[in-house]
Symmetry: C2
């Protein structure tokens, strides 16, 4: 049985989970693949900090860990961007395979990291960076390798999905559901990465890179979070036959453009994506041969993340034993670019607060008509006495540009009370 | 770019699909993995038969194909058992990797084939044998390699799922829904493999082997099909909050027993498995680290099967190029065995036709009580005038043995009209 030495940099929740889960997993990996993993070195920011017993005395200097000849694979679990990038760079220079769960690193510094990895000929394994316990990157790279991908979509932030599920099931408002997510440990004290869609966009960028060989410039991805969702929107969506999910969409437009976006999106209740509840994640894709495929499971937590990290470690170890090169990163496509956000075409849900006066519906509907935007459903609940009523429209397909013009005109009507709430609608057919 | 020569034995629907899909897929595989696939030889039963143009003139003798030095990987697509086994055997003897979609071969002749493969050191690739377009075997072998599996379950026969979906959605009876499945090409003229659960059991045996290193003796797997399902059962299940699906269940019992079965099963409507509609397949599993994971997609059809065959061919070609041994089959476990079918414990749905007389419900409920089987719900619709009424029970957990005793006693009651319909219930929590 070939033993492969591992070096672990960073020992927070994810690192401790990995150390705790390794012994049992290692026995299974040994039986199944004939390789064994052994932690040879651990580097942490503060080696003096008291913690559960570690398999080896921690050191502080990760450069020593990378240089240690007993360390054959480096696992980067420090998170963040700058130090993680330096660790990745040093690992590749040392010609050692890198295993990481760091989605921000790949999504935001991939433009530098990918060429480095390709030049060094050293593989990077990052299954744990997207949808933790679901082996979706391996499916994209290998199981579906013969498919041209017609599009991908996913619920890839468990915290947001937990919050939206609570809002739908318990009728909670956003603030209450967010607090529950924090109480349960699903949301961090700093909730911005999760709730504002940034974490989902990191993962969407990685999926886009694997599926299309194109890593979008991160700052150019349109990202909307779920803070603006009111419980009345969840209720109206449900009346119309839809659930609201924070959805990442990735799809080619023509031959050299790609639409990548993260936004709260109405999905038909009947679609399997709509029954992904609580902190679960799901990734759907459409292959030209496979047809639609959906993967559902836990996207986060130390155990689900361990499942992915250990699979990567097992594969990296097996490739080292077999002197195999390991998975190659796609060659970045030079001609591919993101579509202009105003050119994005799709269906929308629009809620407007108006004064409860005769003729207002006709005015608003008239503006959509002028912009040639069809209306597929309207909801106008009975006035709640405050003089203002919500008007909800489910629209036919329109470009962001024409929708924005219409909404701009509507906001200038004398009877419009508040900025419109605009959500995406995807039928995913 | 390394070119790898393929030999194709059998050129029916699946083989023709593979040939049709190869050129486009090969370009993608070349970009993504740096290998190219080239069909060097095709063997068919009747080379004179008129067919679409083939990339090479077909021959009749598959032994020549296997011996052809240009053929580096053999794809067996003849189906059936005896000839397929001979082809597999000859391929392994020739030390050439085998790619197959033949679930019957692996499930029914695996006892002979697996030791042969292990002795020869040559890999067998069989992703296409289970759930076509869903790369679930790769996920089990690699993506979830670090997990101990706490159980698997799946809807792995698309024909049965189409029929049950029609029965639920359109209220059709079994015969009408079966005829529709035949008209749409989802069911073969000989419908027994699909409708009687044999095809699903073949796939369940393969999943069991990969998950637990145990290939059950095929004739010992308890298999029930869907012919006995009446539209009233679908209706009653729905009233109780359940959908009926032909479900394969695989789960360890204690340390050295496994329960493997295929049976029509009530699943809670809220569970994601219950919203797998039409000809779609789904496989769910619970890993000790990953938690519950579900894969959903197309299980059959020439394109979905091509997706899996081409992924296997790409992997086999890459392993040949890299001189990698390829995936090893699990070492069969000597101590593992199937549980006794009477020892199987679970929840059941029981429908009994009784004469519409006072006291009958009490008698039946009394018998369940005597056998210490709890009743969680009862449905007794108003009599339809014919003097006989259905009595529907949703039971708490019981062994097959005690359920059989109870049903036997019930059938001997003077007011019982017809044999009971007994279905499994799984909450999949």
């Amino acid at each position: 049985m070939k033993k492969i030495g591992i070096g672990l940099i960073g020992c927070g929740t994810v690192g401790s989970g990995l150390i705790r889960n390794l012994p049992k997993a290692d026995a299974l990996i040994g039986q199944r693949l004939g390789v064994q993993l052994e932690i040879k070195s651990i580097a942490v920011r503060d080696p003096a900090k008291s913690r559960d017993p570690l398999p080896t005395k921690p050191i502080q200097d990760w450069k020593k860990l990378i240089a240690d000849p007993a360390v054959q694979i480096v696992v980067e679990l420090v998170g963040g961007l700058d130090e993680a990038f330096q660790i990745a760079q040093a690992t590749l220079h040392a010609k050692k395979p890198l295993v990481t769960a760091n989605k921000a690193l790949l999504a935001e510094r991939g433009q530098e990291l990918i060429p480095l990895a390709q030049k060094s000929g050293v593989p990077i394994y990052f299954e744990a960076s997207v949808a933790g316990g679901i082996p979706v990157l391996k499916a994209l790279r290998e199981g579906l390798v013969a498919n041209q991908l017609l599009g991908l979509h996913g619920i890839i932030n468990g915290t947001s999905n937990y919050i939206l599920s609570r809002m739908a099931e318990a009728g909670s408002d956003f603030a209450t559901a967010l607090q529950q997510a924090k109480d349960l440990g699903y949301a961090e004290a700093d909730d911005r990465l999760d709730v504002d869609g940034i974490d989902a966009a990191h993962k969407a960028a990685i999926l886009c890179f694997l599926a299309y060989g194109f890593l979008p410039k991160f700052s150019e991805i349109p990202i909307e979070g779920i803070r603006k969702i009111q419980s009345q929107d969840v209720g109206f969506a449900s009346q119309l036959g839809y659930a609201i999910k924070l959805l990442a969409m990735i799809r080619p437009v023509g031959t050299d453009q790609i639409e990548v976006r993260v936004a709260p999106t109405l999905l038909p209740l009947r679609h399997p994506m709509a029954s992904v509840h609580g902190a679960f994640n799901a990734v759907g894709l459409i292959g030209n041969l496979s047809g639609p495929v959906q993967f559902t499971g836990r996207g986060a937590g130390p155990d689900a993340t361990s499942s992915a990290l250990l699979a990567d470690l097992a594969e990296a170890a097996k490739n080292l034993r077999d002197h195999s090169p390991g998975p190659a990163l796609p060659k970045p496509s030079a001609k591919m670019k993101l579509i202009d956000r105003n050119a994005s075409v799709g269906r929308f849900y629009v809620r407007i607060e108006v004064e409860d006066r005769p003729g207002v519906l006709a005015q608003v509907a008239g503006i959509f008509g002028t912009e040639k935007i069809g209306i597929s459903s309207v909801l106008q609940p009975e006035g709640h006495g405050a003089g203002s009523v919500p008007l909800v429209f489910l629209l036919e397909s329109a470009s962001v540009a024409s929708l924005s013009r219409a909404v701009d005109l509507i906001s200038k009507l004398p009877n419009t009370r508040a900025p419109a709430t605009i959500l995406r609608v995807e039928d995913l057919t």
